[in-house]
């Protein structure tokens, strides 16, 4: 089977590509041809093409190799052949970051860019700007200024766009060209005008007032270029979104007026901006939607596509406005262009009522086979949001998804379907059994390992809790016999979960695992042996800790901790408790927006979490190196009002015995330089201030960090505290333009900040226990604390939200969402207390007469911890 596939692939790609078997060494050898005189332009062009091809195939060129080839290339400047010269420009750009000393071609390029041949000038500018670094920028400044206002549009555009790229490395120099750029905005050429406006915006971007002026100036002077208009609309819309309080009527009026522009492009851009703006009122929405509605019946497919895509996007936020276009959308269902049809149908699905669902789904089914995977994913997303809206329709949806799952499709598409089925299962218990059986069927013939392992994991978690767990075991065991090692390993883990959950199934699971103990793959064999031994003990606590609820550490931190352990000389066994637990991230919520084909694919690699990054930063500071592993980092808290002179945010980093307060400071005064910045803290709550780490310099608009280290009180029950905070620093007045202080002597000053609170939640880390019941039994009642409280909360939802926030624990088993219309609920939460003790909380809630009664039971592996947690409520 595999062999067959391979040979097919060979047939497809073989033969036709002349560069298929390029060898780096021989291509580099060929670059010697460049040194020959006279130059054979045709031959050299081919060699350059090979180099370009190689680089774009990801071939790695070492700096010396690249440099050698590059200098050989420089000899080609003597040849007047147009094709060769332009190939040369391309190669220079590609090699700009690989070879050394690429500035060698600076003069040659400036000669071309100022020469008589217009066909060389634009490309030469682009190449020049690629090889120019910050230190060289000044030497080409004069040429760039001239080129920006050149009368040839290709030269001017090339200079403008290249300057835009240069902004990234040398904004200061480019800013000096503002007069030339402003002149270029008045160009008669539509592209030049557009590019110039784009650059002008980048130059002024950080100055809000200047941007507002820019928009109002050009909105009056009527630009020629529709592209420039579109850009201006985007700037205006961005400006409106940025404004926190109040909104600029003139900006909005400008966008509104563009709805009546003569170019379709501008009209669409304006409508799309208006419907996406948060500040748009329903009245203003009507005219914009009206425009989109008109575009829906345009003869141009691109306009129909744009319009329906936009309507689709806002169908969740503004359903009423979109429903007004229903008739037009209905007409698009049968559009020749299937992308348009797909968007139209999914929009109707999202805004329509329950009765229409069946009809629309039928319609989609009729052309599912004709659309590309990307648009199939749009359909899948629509189905997911539909299921949330009409839970009762899950049968129709589920069978639709199942049939999609059976058909051919790429990984992303299949992944979307599997994710959607899983989401539906999690939302709607009634859909669980049918969803699981569709997934079982799917993995019977599934080419995508990650999906197969994901489904097996899900089966292991959910299967044992269904009415007939036994029926899943066959599907899982089939994987053990038929699949590759990764899948077999996942299947073995899933089987173990069934064994741990059910005494009835245990004997047969043990038999199955025993067979896998002879597997040829190490990982599979290890897992089988491990699980077999644990299950044979028949100890519930053991099964819970090692099979049903597993490690909650971040892989990145674990790797680092193990590395450190290996490097140190010690007799002690490795302590898993030193590894920070992983932060529970918010579960993925289906977004209102239909995700259209994305260009950037999310990576599936374990990324370093926010806390991993903090941990790395802190351990690099000598003063904090001895604090041990970082236990938890809080979200940043503002200690200043918005838009004040200084902005300070605090992040609390909890260690086993210490807390490090990290103060991210920003100085917003351009005529001040702050030095020796420190946040002085004081408290009456038993915490001891150990040391301060100052931020030596805080220039205008450059973030700086100061730290304060405190020791947590010995008394384990003393955890909450309030700290008064004061920002202290030395001020030096300085020149706003250069940032240079006027004189060396500064003066001491201070600035009051909001208090910092340390709460119970700073001492616990959220941990998701997939099987809460098992953990509850595992920890046991030894240190149990139980109490009853009356909370004055207006609803169950409100009470749940507050309890979670105060305790800082992770809700488990989806108990954070009480079923609608019920007055009682049980909330289950889990976490780890500072020092590595498990904490489990069960809160039985009952709502009556405007209040919520709570019976709180707390279990922990430590005797003090339950009292501390209870403090959070008291």
């Amino acid at each position: 089977m595999l062999g067959k596939k391979d040979s097919k692939k060979d047939d497809e790609s073989g033969g036709s590509n002349p560069f298929k078997n390029l060898e780096k060494a021989s291509v580099l050898q060929e670059t010697r041809t460049f040194n020959e005189t006279p130059i054979n332009a045709k031959k050299c062009c081919l060699i350059l093409t090979k180099i370009l091809y190689m680089i774009n195939q990801g071939e790695h060129l070492a700096p010396t190799e690249a440099t050698q080839a590059f200098f050989a290339m420089t000899k080609l400047f003597q040849c007047k052949d147009v094709m060769l010269r332009r190939m040369l420009y391309l190669c220079i750009k590609e090699m700009a970051n690989i070879a050394n000393d690429v500035i060698i071609v600076t003069s040659s390029l400036t000669k071309d860019m100022t020469g008589k041949e217009d066909i060389y000038r634009g490309p030469a500018i682009r190449a020049l700007c690629r090889i120019t670094d910050n230190t060289m920028l000044q030497s080409i400044e004069r040429y760039m200024k001239q080129a920006i206002v050149d009368k040839s549009r290709s030269v001017s555009s090339a200079a403008l766009v290249s300057s835009l790229h240069l902004m990234k490395q040398g904004p200061e120099v480019v800013k000096r060209w503002v007069n030339e750029v402003s002149e270029a905005v008045n160009s008669d050429n539509v592209m030049v005008q557009y590019h110039a406006l784009g650059l002008l915006y980048q130059i002024k971007k950080n100055d809000k007032l200047a941007i507002t002026k820019l928009v109002s100036k050009f909105s009056k002077s009527s630009l020629r270029s529709p592209y420039a208009y579109c850009f201006l609309i985007r700037v205006a819309a961005h400006q409106l979104e940025e404004e926190k309080d109040g909104f600029d009527k003139t900006l909005f009026d400008f966008i509104e007026s563009c709805l009546r522009h003569k170019s379709d492009m501008v009209i669409y851009e304006a409508a799309s901006a208006i419907v996406s703006l948060k500040c748009t009122t329903s009245k203003e929405l009507v005219s914009a939607v009206g425009v989109l509605q008109l575009l829906c019946s345009s003869p141009k497919p691109s306009l129909r596509y744009a319009a329906v895509k936009t309507l689709n996007k806002i169908s969740i936020t503004h359903p009423a406005a979109v429903t007004a276009c229903n008739i037009d959308l209905e007409n698009l269902i049968t559009d020749q262009n299937r992308s348009i049809a797909t968007l139209a149908i999914t929009t109707l699905l999202k805004t329509g009522n329950e009765s229409g669902v069946d009809r629309l789904m039928k319609q989609i089914a009729s052309f599912m086979s004709e659309i590309s995977d990307e648009f199939k994913i749009v359909v899948v997303d629509a189905i997911q949001s539909l299921c949330l809206k009409f839970p009762r329709k899950h049968n129709v949806m589920m069978s639709f998804l199942a049939s999609m799952l059976r058909e051919d499709g790429g990984f992303e598409y299949k992944k979307a379907i599997v994710n959607t089925i899983i989401a539906i299962i999690e939302e709607n218990p009634e859909a669980k059994e049918s969803g699981l059986s569709h997934l079982c069927e799917f993995i019977e013939d599934c080419d995508f390992l990650p999906l197969a392992t994901r489904v097996l994991h899900l089966l292991g978690r959910e299967g044992p809790r269904t009415t007939t767990p036994a029926k899943y075991i066959r599907y899982i065991y089939n994987r053990v016999i038929l699949e590759s090692a990764e899948v077999r390993a996942a299947a073995v883990s899933a089987l173990a979960k069934f064994g741990a959950s059910s005494d009835d199934l245990l004997p047969s699971i043990l038999v199955l695992l025993n067979r896998s103990k002879l597997d040829e793959d190490d990982e599979v064999r290890d897992r089988a042996t491990f699980f077999y031994d644990i299950l044979s003990q028949n100890d519930k606590a053991l099964s819970s800790a090692y099979i049903l609820n597993t490690l909650n550490v971040s892989p990145v931190s674990l790797e680092r901790a193990l590395l450190q352990y290996n490097q140190s000389v010690t007799e002690k066994p490795f302590d898993i408790k030193v590894v920070p637990t992983i932060e529970v991230t918010e579960s993925h919520k289906p977004s209102a927006e239909t995700s259209l084909p994305k260009t950037v694919k999310p990576t599936d690699k374990p990324a370093a979490s926010r806390q991993d990054l903090y941990s790395e930063q802190l351990s690099a500071i000598p003063e904090f190196a001895h604090l041990g592993p970082l236990f938890k980092s809080s979200a940043p808290v503002d200690l200043t009002e918005p838009e004040t002179e200084y902005s300070v945010k605090c992040v609390k980093h909890t260690f086993t015995n210490y807390i490090v307060f990290q103060f991210d400071c920003l100085n917003t005064l351009n005529d001040q330089l702050l030095e020796k910045v420190v946040v002085k803290m004081d408290t009456a709550d038993g915490y001891e201030i150990i040391s301060y780490k100052t931020c030596p310099k805080l220039p205008y608009n450059t973030p700086g960090v100061a730290y304060t280290l405190v020791k947590i009180p010995e008394d384990p029950s003393q955890v909450v505290a309030t700290f008064g905070c004061n920002l202290k620093f030395v001020v030096k007045d300085c020149d706003p333009n250069t940032g240079e202080p006027d004189n060396e002597e500064g003066y001491q000053d201070e600035y009051g900040l909001e208090n910092v609170e340390v709460t119970v939640s700073d001492h616990v880390q959220k941990v998701l226990k997939p099987n809460f019941g098992a953990s509850w039994e595992e920890v046991g009642a030894e240190n149990e604390l139980e109490d009853t409280y009356a909370l004055s909360m207006p609803s169950l939802e409100e009470a749940i939200k507050n309890i979670i926030q105060f305790m800082g624990l992770q809700p488990c088993e989806r108990t954070e969402r009480p079923p609608e219309g019920k007055n009682t609920h049980v909330l289950l939460m889990a976490g780890i207390y500072r020092g590595g003790h498990d904490v489990l909380v069960r809160a039985k809630l009952a709502y009556n007469d405007g209040g919520v009664a709570m019976q709180l039971t707390i279990r922990s592996s430590d005797s003090i911890v339950p009292q501390v947690i209870a403090q959070a409520v008291g």
């Binding site: 040194n35 003597q78 000393d101 060698i104 071609v105 003069s107 040659s108 060289m136």
Partner: protein, 185 residues
């Protein structure tokens, strides 16, 4: 390729181009001298310090010269050597009024002639003592001493005084170079 060139190449003997490496300290007048050699319509009005190098093709008395006009600024001098291998001759330009930097010129020239790629290669060296018009400029003999020309053995080497702006002395010097090239071919 123009028609004439095409015929030439068809006849099998298109005239060879000679690669001439033009080096010397910054501000010595390399680009100015080459500019002086160009025809009216290819001449440029102002000359800026060269960054990297510039390529100039000039036909002088029916010899095709292909000049590599290098930048003389100290940070770019290390790039000269990339062009040693394919060079058929070297022109070294020195500003004869810049007495302060005669030693620097001396060292750079020594580095060039002792370089592995040049040392055993029999290519002529033309030294131009430029800016002879400037008051107090060193004479040809003085330059010969300063550069210790007598140390250079086993290669044809000649010193000419020039004025890059007026062109004085340049023709003579190039005539010598052209004859050297003809001998070589």
């Amino acid at each position: 390729m123009g028609l004439l060139e095409k015929i030439e190449s068809l006849l099998g003997g298109r005239k060879k181009d000679f690669n001439i490496l033009v080096i010397g300290l910054d501000n010595s007048g390399k680009s100015t001298i080459l500019n002086n050699l160009k025809t009216k319509d290819t001449k440029v009005a102002t000359i800026n310090p060269t960054v990297g190098f510039n390529q100039e093709k000039i036909n002088f008395q029916s010899v095709n010269f292909n000049f590599f006009d290098m930048s003389g600024q100290s940070r770019y001098r290390s790039l000269w050597e990339h062009y040693y291998k394919e060079s058929n001759a070297i022109i070294f330009v020195i500003d004869s009024s810049d007495r302060m930097r005669f030693v620097v010129s001396n060292e750079e020239l020594a580095d060039v002639v002792n370089h592995a790629e040049i040392k055993n290669k029999d290519i002529p060296l033309l030294i131009l003592a430029n800016k002879k018009d400037v008051k107090g400029a060193a004479s040809e003999n003085e330059i010969k001493n300063e550069l210790e020309i007598n140390r250079i053995k086993g290669r044809n080497c000649k010193v000419y005084s020039t004025n890059g702006l007026s062109g004085e002395g340049i023709n003579e010097a190039l005539e010598w170079l052209a004859s050297e090239m003809k001998n070589l071919a």
